[in-house]
């Protein structure tokens, strides 16, 4: 069972209006979609999630689940399941009792409840831990218990608040993969909060990028990466971030991996002179720091040369680099939002 989740004109203020945690957000999540909420710390991701869950009431605007307004309804009737960043397992209950707990309001016989809980535990591979208390579990096991508790009563919506942030890097990668496959299997509409862009790019059907309580862009990971709606998204996503070069009241942007020695740029391109300062070697790639001239004002940029590009690049020297003209993005210098392309002198390569 999966449903749509929608928020419209949602505003949430704290402290009598001093803090605007969510500032007029409109967002429609499709049935069975895996939406990732991405944004820097303090941008209102958790607040948005809690408002959808019913733990916070909106200051104004609506939350719709399955097409009907649920403002003012308590969490339990919204049929949402939430995994907290801290997992919030009940410390005095065993793993089994933790997983059974959400089933109690449904008037099922005890045995049926337990067999459902065992099914959920098996699905997540924690069926051998059922008699333990949460404090006897590792971080990864706790996360799985929290997930099992969330899915056991087949909720309409999953809300996950940075569920992987307590895990180490290696476990996080495998847990991310597991989570995605699990969601595809059950097909439940999922909202996943993170401030880790790698997680967002890897997991999301769509990504919603937030900043200071506002929704900046909503789209496919590829779309958000390739066609950022504004300079915030352009520089928040991608590491190293998109290069921005001022030119005639506009900012010309291009990703570091598209700034290459001229011989490697195919199609129509703009030529620049790249004064190299410094080179970093990172997992096979070369990150080249320097200044470009010839595209607009002189500006500091970063180029990312993949391992396949073996041209010599020497710090302290100027090199002939180029960017494919289709890879250029344009933003208003004042507003920061996307604008129409402006003319740049191009050459065929």
């Amino acid at each position: 069972m999966s449903v749509t989740v929608e928020v419209s004109n949602l505003i949430k203020q704290f402290d009598g209006g001093h803090v605007r945690a969510i500032d007029d957000v409109n967002l429609a999540i499709e049935e069975g979609e895996y939406l990732v909420l991405l944004g820097p710390s303090g941008c209102g991701k958790t607040t948005l999630l809690r408002t959808i869950a019913g733990l916070e009431q909106p200051t104004s605007g609506d939350v719709l689940i399955a097409g009907s307004v649920v403002n003012g309804l308590p969490p339990r009737v919204r049929k949402v399941a939430m995994v907290f960043q801290s997992y919030a397992l009940y410390p005095h209950k065993t793993v089994l009792a933790n997983i059974v707990f959400p089933l109690k309001p449904e008037k099922l016989p005890k045995q049926e409840r337990e067999s459902k809980a065992r099914w959920a535990a098996e699905l997540l591979g924690i069926d051998q831990l059922l008699d333990r208390k949460p404090r006897q579990l590792s971080g990864g096991e706790r996360q799985r218990v929290a997930l099992a508790r969330a899915l056991v009563r087949a909720p309409h919506v999953f809300l996950l608040d940075e569920p992987l942030s307590n895990l180490d890097a290696k476990l996080r990668a495998s847990a991310r993969d597991e989570l995605k496959r699990f969601q595809q299997r059950v097909g439940t509409t999922t909202v996943y909060v993170t401030h880790d862009q790698a997680e967002a790019m890897g997991l999301g059907d769509r990504i919603a990028v937030m900043d200071k309580g506002k929704l900046r862009q909503l789209g496919h990971p590829v779309e958000v990466y390739d066609d950022p709606a504004d300079t915030f998204v352009a520089t928040f996503i991608g590491s190293p971030p998109m290069n921005l070069v001022p030119r005639d009241g506009t900012l010309v942007g291009f990703r570091p991996e598209h700034l290459l020695p001229v011989s490697h740029v195919t199609g129509e391109r703009v030529d620049v002179t790249f004064h190299v300062d410094r080179i970093e070697h990172l997992s096979g790639d070369r990150h080249v720091y320097g200044t470009v001239s010839g595209l607009g004002e002189e500006n500091r940029v970063i180029a990312r040369l993949p391992a396949t590009v073996t041209d010599p690049v020497t710090p302290g020297e100027a090199h002939a680099f180029g960017v494919n003209i289709d890879r250029l993005r344009f933003f208003g210098a004042e507003s920061g939002t996307r604008t129409e392309p402006i003319r740049v002198d191009a050459k065929h390569g």
Partner: protein, 311 residues
């Protein structure tokens, strides 16, 4: 390491020894324990053994010379029906008071943590009984429960619930009830504050998780709040029970043990016999009777707390 210290200049060696003295946990533990040990010996152990000694003697207020009389005091105490009445009263008083205190304390604690307008006033009023000296508040209660001028009677009469005055302190059952009521009124604020601390110590996300999991008020109360605060409640209840068990203030001020010795508890009976009546031997026997009961209660509750494995 030792060689290094020996080779080092003199001042460093001094520093080194001093640090090592402060590092010795066992030594420090003893220093910190000394005041407690002295306190316990002077104010607990000595009176305790003195009481045991008196229990086997014919010491009275008028004749303090010590003569061994064996078990005579014990047989005299046990032959007295007032003692058995007081013993029964002590249990009834403690059990009923503690149940009421825990229940009302819990309810009040939840009122205290709730968020509403003017809660500082409610919190202040709730804590008032605890801050009032019991002798003072009992006098107010004496008036409230007065045989002729009781305002409670007046209200009940005017509402039409009773015909005649209740004589709260004049009938044994009502008098015992009044004693319990005043004692509960006195201890509930403290219980509420202790339980409030317990409730506040539960992480918010656990409460929120239980709301998401569809638990209503009662399920949340019985499956989350109470289990998580149980060790605190148990320890507080233990102290409350011991305090109640040995307390005589309310009985003494409100009824003086009357009517006809029907509301005495062990502590007040021991006081009346030993200090009021001057028969120190009998007073000691009655007071000693509290000891095994308290010991059993303490062991019982501490054990149940230890058995609870939480967090």
């Amino acid at each position: 390491m030792a060689e290094l210290v020996r080779d080092a200049p003199r001042r460093q060696e001094l520093d080194g020894t001093r640090r090592r003295l402060a590092d010795r946990d066992g030594f420090l533990a003893w220093i910190f324990l000394v005041p407690t040990v002295v306190y316990i010996i002077v104010l607990v152990a000595i009176p305790f053994f003195l009481a045991i000694a008196f229990a086997f003697s014919d010491v009275t207020a008028g004749n303090p010379s010590y003569d061994w009389v064996g078990l005579e005091n014990f047989s005299r105490v046990f032959d007295d029906p007032v003692f058995w009445q007081a013993l029964r009263n002590t249990f009834v008083f403690t059990a009923i008071s503690m149940v009421l205190i825990v229940v009302f304390g819990k309810v009040l604690a939840m009122v205290l943590v709730a968020d509403f307008r003017g809660k500082w006033l409610v919190r202040f009023l709730v804590l008032l009984p605890w801050t009032t000296p019991v002798a003072l508040s009992s006098i107010t209660w004496l008036w409230l429960l007065h045989s002729i001028y009781s305002p409670i009677d007046w209200v009940l009469r005017n509402v039409g619930l009773i015909e005649d005055n209740s004589y709260f302190l004049g009938k044994p059952a009502l008098a015992m009830g009044s004693v319990i009521a005043v004692h509960v009124w006195r201890l509930v604020p403290l219980a509420a504050v202790i339980m409030m601390v317990g409730i506040l110590s539960i992480p918010d996300d656990l409460i929120e998780a239980s709301r998401i999991d569809g638990a209503g008020f009662w399920r949340r109360l019985f499956e989350i709040t109470i289990p998580l605060t149980f060790p605190l409640i148990a320890v507080a209840a233990l102290f409350g029970a011991i305090f109640t068990f040995t307390d005589m203030a309310v009985v003494y001020v409100l009824t003086g043990g009357g009517p006809t010795n029907s509301t005495h508890v062990l502590a007040s009976w021991s006081f009346v016999r030993g200090i009021g009546g001057g028969d120190i031997g009998q007073g000691a026997v009655i007071a000693l009777f509290l000891f095994p009961l308290l010991l059993a209660a303490a062991i019982l509750i501490l054990r149940s707390v230890r058995k609870m494995e939480t967090i």
